[in-house]
Structure formats: structure tokens, C-alpha cells
């Protein structure tokens, strides 16, 4: 089983401050709605209802999007998705692509695929841009560099961009903005995810606070063919615009405490080319609807609900384990409570399959989730799956085997408990319990078992 390193003290404090701030702001913004619980239920019903009739809505979305001039393509695997994007880049002859933050493109390792073909994919969310400059994966679903101090960010920019050192967040943002603006003005391939796909209207919904999502999908370059490719999971489809309005009401509030993300954009298609219609916007819009293991999740009744996730990040913000270990310790694209569920569902590796053990099962995640996903029960279920697949260590399986035998044979249990009480002195117990017992003592075993006491003292 994997061992997750605990964050060093300093970084843990920075992280805790940021996460608690987000939680505070969420609490205030949720308090505006006395019927928040009912709103969560409705959000859950919208998402779960969409999954119940997934194929119907996907087909409807596909037809509506086509009517809007969007090319919709179903892709089964990460490789297929990457090949498609590479082919577009080659066809329009670009060596740079601008990217808006998207977990799905991380999931399929699109950047790596593009790089091997000599195409540089530039992240344009400020946090992701900085993470990319220093070669780190995103730390948190919605806050990719929440673990870095302003000094560290200053050194990264000074180092990589050759600018004078500053640790002022406003200056740093300005420096990064200018560097990215130059790229935006010539970029012809824009890559994004999608927060929702609307079946009724064939729209993509994309939210960003910085406006980079709008830049990547508008592509302000003046010449040459410009193409926007959105890559998203099949589970992102929702029936109608009114559903989007409701989900958006919960999304930003849950994640950051804002009422609405600064830029919420509905993309209905490429630039309208009729004379006098539109002056800017891409020539083509492609949407890749990715499976990559999602249909298998849909078939498992315990994991199906996890597909309802709207990626607000609140479950990570509230998770006591995440607070201690941070995002990188999960060593997976998707981290935090729901990230563990997704990782274990998508990837059949020991690393991913054992992530559900990195949880206290306290249920804080399920309590905060705006779409009411029963996250901790999914994690519990996946522990069983991991054990069935032989991903748990041998000693653990042995212990559980012994437990089962003892619990189903009362005589054996009674005998075992007598032996154990003779054998395990407090000193031995404390030795076995290390490192937990380094700062505390385990209570000594009772001298008599409950059984024995009952025999002696129960009223006849």
C-alpha cells in the first residue's frame, strides 16, 4: 500500500489558511439561501437524471450542436482523443496551442502527446501557467498553486521569464499576463474543457474567473484558420439551460463562495460567417466527448453517482486528510476525496486503486457536496474492490481472515481472547502500535472479558 508523505509544517499552514478561507466564504454565500438543502437535492436530481438517460441526452446534444455548426466526436480512449487534437494541430499548421484549465486534458495527458509531436501546449490559467513553468502538476482542483508562497512564485517567474524578482501578487500577475497576452494574439489553436454540455441547445458552458477560457475559445489572432477544441467527459451533459442556471448557482458558491464565476460563457458554435455577422471567433469548434472508463463507472451502482461531480473542489477544501497531506501526495491527476473515487475507477493500478484508503471516511465530503454525492460510501466500496483485486497487503488480508474465522467460532474467539490478554502487556501493545503510540499510550487490555463478567455478575 502506498505511504503518503505529510506536508511540511510551513506548507501545511499556507494550505490550511487558503482552504479555510474558501470554506468561510462558502459558508457566507450559502447562508443567502435558507433552502440550500433543497437546492442540493435538486442539483443532485438534475445530474442523476441526466445520467439515467445519458445516451438520449448525448444524442440530443450532438444533433443540436451540429445544427449550431459544432463538430461533435465521440472518443473512447485517451489515445484517440490525443490523436484527434494532434491531427487538427498538424492540419492547420500550428506549433503552439493555448489551453484553458481542464482536468480532462490532464486525465488524458494531452500536453505530453502534443509535445512529442513538437506542439507546445501553453496553460493560461495563472496558477496552471506557473505550475507548468516549474514542471509541477496542479495541486488542487480549482487552486493549482495554492501550496506555493508568493516568494516561491516570484523566484519561478524571475527564473523562467528572466524578469526582476518581485513577490507582489499584483506585479507577478501582470508579468504573467503580458507574457500570455503576446501568445494569445497569435495563437490559432485553443483547447478547453467544458463544465457542461446542454442537450437542449447544443451549447458548451465554460467558466473561468480570469478570462483565459474566453481567450482560448475566441482566439483573437487576426490571420489563419483558428480552431477551438473542447474535450470533455460524456457525463457532463445536462438536459436544459434552466438546469445549467441552477447548477451554476451552486458551483461557484461551493468552491470559492462567489455568487457566479466571473466569466460564464455559453459557446454555441464557430464565428458566424455571413456578411456583417461576426468579426471574431474561431472558424471551427470541435467537441470531443470522452468515455475513457466512464461507462464502466455508470454500470457500477456504487460508483455511478460519482459521475454527478461538477468539480467545485469543496470536498477537498473540507477534507481533514487533504488538509494534512495536500494534493500532490495522491500522485494522481484527480485528487482529494472525489479524486480518489475517480482515480480508482479509471485506472487499474495499485497506486490508484488504493487511494480510497487515504480517507478517514468521516463523510465531511458528502456533507458539503453541492450535488450530494455519497463520496465516502463510494470510497468504502472501492476498498472492497481493491481487496478483491489483491491490491491490499498480505498481512492485512491475513488479519481479516483470522478475524473472520474467530468471529464465526465463539469457542475459538473465547480462547483467543484469554491468550491475548495473557500475552499482550501494555509494553508490547505500545511497541506494536508504533508510530501512533510514540506520543500516547494504548489503554491496557481489560483483565476480564465482558463474557466472563456477565457470567459472574448477571442477575440469575
Amino acid at each position: 500500500m502506498m505511504h503518503t508523505p505529510v506536508l511540511e509544517e510551513q506548507r501545511r499552514a499556507t494550505l490550511a489558511r487558503a482552504l479555510n478561507l474558501a470554506l468561510d466564504k462558502r459558508r457566507q454565500s450559502v447562508a443567502e439561501f435558507p433552502d440550500w438543502e433543497a437546492m442540493r437535492q435538486r442539483a443532485h436530481d438534475i445530474r442523476a437524471g441526466a445520467l439515467d438517460r445519458l445516451d438520449e441526452y448525448l444524442n440530443q446534444f450532438e444533433r443540436a450542436a451540429a445544427a449550431n455548426g459544432i463538430r461533435v466526436v465521440r472518443v473512447a480512449t485517451a489515445e484517440e482523443a490525443c490523436l484527434y487534437v494532434v491531427a487538427i494541430a498538424k492540419r492547420i499548421g500550428v506549433t503552439t496551442a493555448v489551453k484553458s484549465k481542464s482536468m480532462v486534458t490532464e486525465e488524458i495527458h494531452l500536453n505530453r502527446a502534443l509535445e512529442t509531436e513538437g506542439i507546445r501546449a501553453m496553460e493560461t490559467d495563472l496558477g496552471e501557467y506557473i505550475a507548468q513553468l516549474c514542471g509541477q502538476p496542479p495541486f488542487h482542483l480549482t487552486a493549482p498553486i495554492v501550496h506555493l508562497s508568493r516568494d516561491e512564485v516570484g523566484r519561478i517567474l524571475a527564473d523562467k521569464l528572466g524578469v526582476p524578482f518581485t513577490n507582489d501578487p499584483t506585479q507577478l500577475t501582470l508579468i504573467a499576463r503580458d507574457a500570455m497576452r503576446r501568445e494569445f494574439l497569435t495563437a490559432r489553436l485553443g483547447i478547453s474543457g467544458a463544465n457542461f454540455c446542454v442537450a437542449e441547445t447544443g451549447s458548451l458552458v465554460l467558466v473561468t474567473n480570469e478570462g483565459n477560457g474566453r481567450m482560448c475559445t475566441t482566439l483573437p489572432a487576426k490571420e489563419g484558420p483558428r480552431v477551438h477544441v473542447a474535450i470533455t467527459g460524456i457525463e457532463k451533459v445536462v438536459p436544459a439551460l434552466k438546469d445549467v442556471a441552477h447548477l451554476l448557482r451552486l458551483l461557484a458558491r461551493s468552491g470559492s463562495g462567489m455568487r457566479l464565476t466571473a466569466y460564464t460563457t455559453l459557446i454555441n458554435g464557430p464565428r458566424k460567417r455571413a456578411a456583417g455577422e461576426e468579426t471574431t471567433g474561431p472558424d471551427e469548434v470541435h467537441v470531443l466527448l470522452l468515455d475513457n472508463g466512464r461507462r464502466a463507472m455508470l454500470r457500477d451502482p456504487h460508483l455511478r453517482e460519482a459521475l454527478c461531480c461538477i468539480r467545485c473542489g469543496a470536498c477537498s477544501n473540507t477534507c481533514p486528510v487533504y488538509h494534512r497531506i495536500g494534493g500532490h501526495a495522491y500522485q494522481s491527476v484527480y485528487n482529494g476525496p472525489i479524486g480518489s473515487v475517480w482515480s480508482a475507477a479509471l485506472w487499474d493500478t495499485e497506486q490508484a486503486a488504493t487511494l480510497p484508503f487515504v480517507s478517514s471516511l468521516c463523510g465531511a465530503c458528502a456533507d458539503i457536496c453541492p450535488v450530494k454525492i455519497d463520496i465516502h460510501h463510494a470510497l468504502l466500496w472501492q476498498r472492497k474492490l481493491a481487496a478483491d483485486r489483491g491490491y491490499t497487503p498480505r498481512w492485512q488480508r491475513l488479519v481479516w481472515w483470522a478475524w473472520r474465522v474467530a468471529m464465526s467460532h465463539p469457542a475459538l474467539y473465547g480462547f483467543g481472547s484469554i491468550v491475548a490478554r495473557r500475552l499482550f502487556s501494555p509494553a508490547i501493545l505500545n511497541r506494536l502500535g508504533k508510530p501512533w503510540t510514540e506520543t500516547r499510550d494504548l489503554p491496557p487490555l481489560a483483565r476480564k472479558s465482558f463474557h466472563e463478567m456477565w457470567k459472574e455478575e448477571a442477575p440469575k
Binding site: 474567473n209 442556471a245 466571473a262
Partner: protein, 163 residues
């Protein structure tokens, strides 16, 4: 004051946006000014000193709706407003009138249901809630990353009227 307007103004201010009086609009149009083709902007067309929003310091545009619940300005792309006119200039000034206010996003979708049918809808619907923002560096709020640093809303009506 119109209660929707009151809520809109208050919530827009909470996002870091500002509301200015029509009388003060002139003073906002400094530097390289881009003025959109929206009919509401016509009276200021002569103030334009720049035809390309990519190069403008200030962009003056109209809008299609406003949302009181979130302090949001809604702009449809098309012949009058482009996807860029509301995005690239450091200051974005928006003109609108009280009749365009909706209580929430659902109402906006209902109001424009006709225009939002597949094949007929504007290529892009932009819901703009305050200036461009980030809190990526130590959770410090910085405005004006890729989009405008300043978002100023101007009502065509003065707010003192009965509503």
C-alpha cells in the same frame, strides 16, 4: 429605486465592479477608446479613437441583459458586440437600461428562449460578473488578469425615478 436595480448595483459592487452615473460617462472615455456598434452607444460613437478592441484602453459596449441575483452583465456575440469587445481592453464600460434587468439567470433564458434554439442562437453568450480576477497567488485578490481590470456599469436612466 427599482429593487432589482438596487440588488444588481449592490452585487456588482461586491464583485469589484462599479456603477457610474450617465453624466460621468464622458470622463471615463480616456486613452484609446473603442466604441461598439450597439445602438445604445451611438451618441458616443464620435469619441472612438480606436477601431480594434485588442488595442483599446477603454471599450464602451451595450449589453443584452443584466442579472440582479449575481450582479451579472449578459452580452450576446453578433453583429454589434463581438467576443473581444468585452474582453481585451483594461477598462470595460457597459451601457444598459433598467428594462433589461432580470432577477436571475433562469429568467434570462426564458426571455430569450426564441433566440436560443439550436441553429439560431448567437455563437457566444457571455455572462460577465465583475472584472477579471484571480486569487491563485496566496489567495490574494488581483483584478485584470486576461480580461478587464475595471468593469463600469452605466444606467441610461438616473436611479432616482420611481420604480
Amino acid at each position: 429605486m427599482n429593487p432589482l436595480r438596487q440588488q444588481f448595483e449592490q452585487r456588482l459592487a461586491q464583485t469589484g465592479g462599479t456603477v457610474a452615473a450617465l453624466a460621468d460617462l464622458d470622463s471615463l472615455l480616456t486613452g484609446r477608446v473603442f466604441v461598439s456598434a450597439h445602438p445604445v452607444c451611438r451618441s458616443w460613437a464620435a469619441r472612438a479613437t480606436c477601431q480594434d478592441p485588442r488595442e483599446a484602453d477603454v471599450a464602451l459596449t451595450g449589453c443584452d441583459a443584466m442579472i440582479a441575483e449575481t450582479g451579472t452583465v449578459v452580452v450576446f456575440s453578433g453583429p454589434v458586440e463581438s467576443r473581444l469587445s468585452t474582453l481585451t481592453a483594461p477598462t470595460h464600460v457597459v451601457l444598459g437600461s433598467e428594462a433589461q434587468l432580470s432577477p436571475d439567470m433562469e429568467t434570462v433564458f426564458e426571455r430569450f428562449a426564441d433566440r436560443l434554439r439550436p441553429g439560431a442562437s448567437p455563437a457566444s453568450l457571455m455572462f460577465i460578473t465583475g472584472p477579471s480576477r484571480t486569487t491563485d497567488i496566496e489567495k490574494t485578490l488581483v483584478l485584470g488578469v486576461h480580461g478587464p481590470k475595471k468593469l463600469v456599469f452605466v444606467f441610461m436612466e438616473d436611479g432616482s425615478g420611481a420604480g
